[in-house]
Symmetry: C2
Subunit: 328 residues, 2 copies
């Protein structure tokens, strides 16, 4: 391969190899090497960045502005930091309608207010027509660290808790784009995850928001870091009826679909009931569920296993090819 392919941006194996093989060695430093969703700086602050190229710009349940705030806010939350400040970088295509930009700015404003962050600095570049696609946004975020993921403390029996249903964001984009020639009532789950912050104190050992690569890829990354296996149960994974219907129709596995307002937590066995009960009290956690556990009797260390509805065991691999480009 002499040229960059879409897979590189898919959040799967190609992207991880790029980061591990070319980025980390080039910029080697202990902070970057941590490869958390945000960099934990010695000063007690966390720092993260994300680019947003979603197509279409406006979709059921959100738009690129809402996504650009929540995506970066959520990276801070799941790395243990209270989101405080965002920067905002626009790349605009000449010819974009002012009404679109105004609508996106209003959405950024509303999302920042909801997520309780301040947008404190920014930059705008404009390129000629055809040199970008409408609008790309980069947000970077700074948060105050109050906890850190501790995968080293994860033990067999610890619970894997999913905060809500899978797949809405990806399917909202996909059907809005018309890729599959049908419409749906599915709305993106795009939302700020600030409500998860108290769960660090409540005992969560590890959290990740479920973005590119989906639940299967994200749990694969966790299981590689621990000397155990992970078992999740297909029939415990919450799915909305429209998502279930659409994924069956399209033959897409919801375990690989990106969300923008869902997270997965690892919680010690003895705390799982109290955490689950608390999660369910928030509207964003209403459909939270224990979907599996850390295992040392089934599978080998480093394996992510799915017990299917039919009762079999399936080994889940991280995403390798790009399912849905420009989903975020």
């Amino acid at each position: 391969m002499t040229r960059i392919s879409l897979e590189l941006g898919g959040g799967g194996k190609t992207m991880r190899e790029f980061i591990a093989g070319r980025i980390v060695p080039a910029f080697k430093n202990t902070i970057l090497a941590g490869l958390l969703d945000s960099a934990h700086l010695p000063s007690g602050f966390a720092f993260t960045t994300d680019g947003y190229v979603v197509d279409p710009v406006f979709f059921p349940g959100g738009d690129i502005g809402k996504l650009a705030v929540n995506g970066t806010v959520n990276d801070l939350v799941v790395s243990g930091a209270v989101p405080l400040y965002l920067s905002l970088g626009f790349i605009l295509e000449e010819g974009l309608e002012w009404t679109s930009l105004d609508r996106i700015v209003a959405s950024l404003k509303a999302a920042a207010k909801q997520a309780r962050v301040q947008i404190v600095t920014g930059d705008t570049k404009v390129v000629k027509q055809g040199q970008a696609d409408k609008i790309f946004i980069h947000t970077s975020g700074i948060g105050r660290i109050i906890a850190a993921p501790r995968p080293g403390l994860v033990r067999p029996g610890d619970a894997i808790i999913l905060t809500g249903t899978l797949g809405e964001h990806s399917l909202a984009i996909l059907t809005a784009r018309g890729d599959y020639g049908f419409e749906s009532c599915i709305k993106s789950d795009c939302a700020p995850l600030n409500f998860l912050m108290p769960f660090w104190k409540a005992g969560a050992l590890w959290m990740r928001d479920i973005t590119r690569g989906g639940l299967a890829t994200i749990l694969s990354e966790l299981v590689e870091q621990i000397p155990f296996s992970i078992l999740i149960e297909e029939d415990r994974i919450p799915l909305s009826n429209p998502v279930r219907a659409a994924t069956e129709l399209l033959g897409i596995d919801p375990l690989y679909l990106a969300c923008e307002g869902r997270a997965v937590l690892v919680v010690p066995a003895r705390k799982k009931d109290s955490v689950l009960a608390k999660l369910k009290k928030d509207p964003l956690g209403r459909r939270a569920a224990v979907i599996g556990r850390i295992e040392n009797r089934i599978g080998r260390p480093g394996e992510l296993l799915l017990r299917t509805t039919a009762g079999g065991l399936r080994l889940l691999e991280p995403l390798t090819s790009e399912l849905l480009p420009r989903i975020c």
Copy 2:
């Protein structure tokens, strides 16, 4: 105007109106309203962001990687902060050659080393062929605040000091792009301005790096904030011979050309000689010069005046139209 035009990204009047009219009111908070090159956070840290869309990606004297590090580093320096950490966001066009990306990563690495900053977090997105132009980069930066620009302390007689020759970066891009059908030996001045940090202690009241909009636009922004005028002298402005020749040939005013390794300082009258002598000791300040002064006898408050080589006085306005898109 119902659609976004290239002017919006030019660093001139249209861009300032966009920021003042739409961005600041939307996200209103005291930090953003400061509109410094970086946001000064209550925690003692400065935070800034910039997008880079330069075309061509590789040019005489640099490339988009070097630019992306130095541009953000320089925004921190001129706002009074020691650059510490950078984030790195790529938007890549499918089909970009791996050798190009590797060369850019190597350049980012070298530039970060030279500017003594760590790249601690990042993100990569890939869009389909034709949806972006090769590569766009966003860098955000965090620095430790040791000083702050104090335009309120500027007094008549204070010296305007330019750290070096104008125009190299813009002309290097312009001739590399072949826009004007001739080649030149002009290399970009792209460089980190860390060497300016000690000048905050040495008495500088205000600093700005000379980017989009050029010297005239940047001094226009200063003069609007003070109850005096500014007078600069054309024959004191350092220009290299190739830049002088090229700007005369093309009929371009070097006062509006973006640089990427030059800054302008305001220094109290009694300190100007010592500051100038110190600046000249650094290779990047070798051609530093006092080019003008804060005035209360010539012109009206808020006016930026140029004494031309012929002896006349010319009122300088901020850049209004986009001279050179995708210069940075």
